[in-house]
């Protein structure tokens, strides 16, 4: 498990999570284990661990178990927990951090939400190549890869309705200065995972 006592200040998993979360301090160390977060969570019942349990596991250095939990992927980013947390922990931001770490470590594949990152990846692929998102492309590519039956269902049902109503583009839109955006993104990737 984690290298808590290995050296005086070797970064623990807890430290890594805090360092990878934007802003000055996500206050993770202040967790009281009160459970207000899980109680406020609309998708809590579908999570393998409530945020409270996950924070205790982070504290215990249970990196593999935390990063293969479906919890961050089932976070709907509604921020109710963040408003209600008596310790003002940046819970939603930490969930995003855990998603990034799970992808980096390849551990999301172990979770029951293993397709979820595929949706994000397909989405950003269009953004990186056009500068805009493209709903039809994201939905079809993602579903064809991960659940082909859904692709058929969407194309004949809801997607078709959206098309009939003139609410779906058939081709993506490209921004004018795509080269500039690409240069910025590639530099950002080069600079890497800094907070």
């Amino acid at each position: 498990m984690a290298t808590t006592i290995a050296s005086a200040r070797a970064p623990t998993f807890f430290d890594e999570v805090v360092a990878a979360t934007p802003g000055t301090d996500p206050h993770l160390e202040l967790c009281l284990q009160c459970g207000t977060c899980g109680g406020s969570c609309p998708s809590g019942p579908d999570m393998e661990h409530t945020p409270r349990a996950l924070f205790a596991m982070i504290d215990a250095g249970m990196k593999d178990q935390v990063l293969s939990s479906n919890t961050p992927w089932y976070c709907v980013a509604c921020y109710y927990c963040m408003v209600r947390c008596p310790q003002e922990i940046h819970i939603t931001d930490i969930m995003y951090t855990l998603k990034r770490m799970a992808i980096k470590e390849g551990l999301y594949r172990e979770s029951s939400a293993s397709d979820a990152s595929g949706f994000s990846e397909t989405f950003i692929d269009y953004v990186e190549n056009y500068g805009r998102s493209f709903e039809l492309g994201v939905a079809t590519r993602y579903h064809l890869r991960h659940h082909p039956l859904n692709a058929v269902k969407m194309a004949t049902g809801m997607g078709f309705n959206m098309f009939l109503k003139g609410r779906m583009d058939l081709t993506p839109t490209r921004i004018k200065n795509l080269d500039q955006l690409k240069a910025i993104l590639s530099k950002a990737k080069e600079l890497g995972g800094s907070s």
């Binding site: 934007p22 609309p42 089932y74 509604c78 940046h90 990034r100 953004v127 709903e135 809801m158 583009d169």
Partner: protein, 322 residues
């Protein structure tokens, strides 16, 4: 009042009704929008799940362009009608201001495109915020020519315009009321809607449909329990989920909901007497026609009350029964 305008990808197509109606009501409210030139996607809730610095660089290109464009004279305010765009832009600005290291890294990336953004330069506002706080209820009331009497509206805020808790919000974070008051100003009957700031499921319709459908069901049930004729939203994601997945909810849960989901700007337009055709009506999947018939074709009973017939005796009115 002049503002920078960041439509976001949804308003280009899927939420075109939101864009059309926002443009149609801007003039009458004294608002002038200057669309941000060559804006890019904000990354929604996806990019931040994959890679932090590119996600912030993506968002900040828009902030940098807005700062540049605004030097030409439209103040420092950038308006986003989409809740996810609004939160992303606002959050990037907030965390860059809070963390000099993040700001420095984002700016190193922006420099590759000859751009720079100084956190705090642009003030990011949601469309609802400028309507209720800058235009104000009094100015709006003066423009109402076709009040929405008798229309029962459930005002739906969703999540991202009032939360998270660590940033300043223009309304209460759990029980906001600005949209309620706006709809009352337009003459509508605002119903109690306890789930008004609960989640629509966001992208979960794609990742785990059963999770999303349950969240959508709760909202539809809540609005239906209070006899709402329609749900009025401020966000393209909320509109899409409640509208396009209503049929799937009915199939899964054996329910029979038939609640149109409309944008608040469409309702402002109707009350201002703008033609429904210019407000994007008809793009909704659950037909708004029957609800609109309550205010459109026939004058409302309340409006009639004010003009008693010539035969009527000069008696105090006893309500709508006559």
């Amino acid at each position: 009042m002049k503002y920078g305008y960041y439509p976001g990808c949804s308003l280009e197509r899927n939420a075109i009704a939101y864009h059309q109606s926002a443009m149609a009501v801007a003039g009458p409210m004294g608002i002038e929008f200057d669309e941000l030139d060559d804006w890019n996607c904000c990354g929604a809730t996806e990019y931040i799940s994959i890679d932090l610095l590119p996600a912030y660089a993506l968002i900040s290109r828009n902030l940098a362009l807005a700062a540049q464009q605004e030097l030409e004279g439209n103040g420092n305010q950038l308006v986003a009608p989409c809740s996810a765009c609004f939160l992303n832009l606002k959050k990037a600005d907030h965390y860059m201001a809070e963390s000099p290291e993040l700001s420095e890294n984002v700016n190193s990336a922006l420099a590759a495109g000859n751009l720079h953004y100084e956190p705090g330069t642009v003030s990011v506002r949601h469309l609802l915020d400028i309507v209720v706080d800058d235009v104000g209820f009094n100015a709006i009331a003066e423009k109402v020519t076709n009040p929405l009497y008798n229309l029962r509206i459930a005002p739906y805020y969703g999540c991202m315009i009032v939360r998270p808790g660590n940033m300043k919000s223009f309304d209460d974070q759990e029980y906001p009321t600005s949209l309620d008051e706006l709809m009352s100003t337009l003459g509508a009957e605002v119903v109690d809607f306890p789930l008004k700031a609960h989640c629509c499921g966001g992208h979960m319709t794609q990742i785990s449909e059963s999770v999303a459908l349950e969240l959508i069901r709760r909202l539809l049930k809540n609005a239906s329990d209070y006899d709402a004729d329609m749900i009025v939203t401020v966000c393209p994601m909320c509109q899409l989920n409640l509208d396009a997945y209503q049929d799937a909810v009915n199939k899964k849960f054996g329910t029979n909901y038939n609640i149109p989901i409309l944008y608040f700007t469409q309702m402002i337009g109707l009350a201002f007497g703008i033609s429904p055709d210019d407000l994007g009506f008809g793009k909704e999947i659950v037909d708004a026609g029957p609800a609109l018939a309550k205010i459109g074709a026939e004058p409302s009973p309340k409006a009639k009350e004010k003009r008693p017939s010539k035969e009527a005796l000069p008696m105090p009115s006893m309500g709508e029964d006559g």
